[in-house]
Amino acid sequence: MTPTRDPVFEVGPRLAMGALLQGAVWADFATVRDAVGAGDSVISKHARSLEDAGYLEVSKGAVGRRPRTWFRLTDAGRTALESHLAWLTSLSDALRAPTGAPPPASSDR
């Protein structure tokens, strides 16, 4: 996997949402909202952006009579997130290195 910067994850709580969803198969709206610590409208807005980028799958259903929304990272979203995290890690390592190691490549999509 090539470490690649992905600007999609650099806006609002998208990186946090991705990090939460990375370890799960599905997470419901309330769980993501509570974990990320953002409001309903913020989560909805950024979920739509991630969905438009093809990184998030949104599924609506019900548990009993309560409507529920579930989020899941798509394969493309998972790959993009892993790649972005690898880029962040290598950048962080380069910044920490005492003798200026070359910074990782950055490619805006």
Partner: protein, 153 residues
Amino acid sequence: MTHEALARVAEQRDRLAERARLPWWFWVLFTLATVGLVGCTLIQEQLSAGVGTWLVVVPSILVYLLAEWLVRRTRGISLSRRTFRDYPSARLPSVLFLLAALAGMFVVMVTAHVRPDVAVVALVIAAPLAIAAMVWVQHAMLADIRAGRVRSS
């Protein structure tokens, strides 16, 4: 900024791991199901004659499925069921769980009719071992979530 972003990622992984922790009542139901499955032949022997082993096995499986269903319904997340594939640290404890459960079940099955005392000892050893291995599986899964090693897809 980079460190901040990585710190937020670590924080979300911690929160997911906290949410993924199994509640105490799951372990109570899991213990009942494990004892029922490992000791099914022995329990059946102790019940009145004519009772089939399935009368112990089926309720045990139902108790386990109930525990799974309740966990999925209450914790707001769904984790991969492919423990062996998706949680690298959980492979060894998963194998140990299977070994303890199957070996225990086998010894209990072979001895329940002829040497019930041996069967009781086998159950008393194998069931706690299997449960301990499953607790280890759970710890390994949480460690993998925290470290970002999960390979869910």
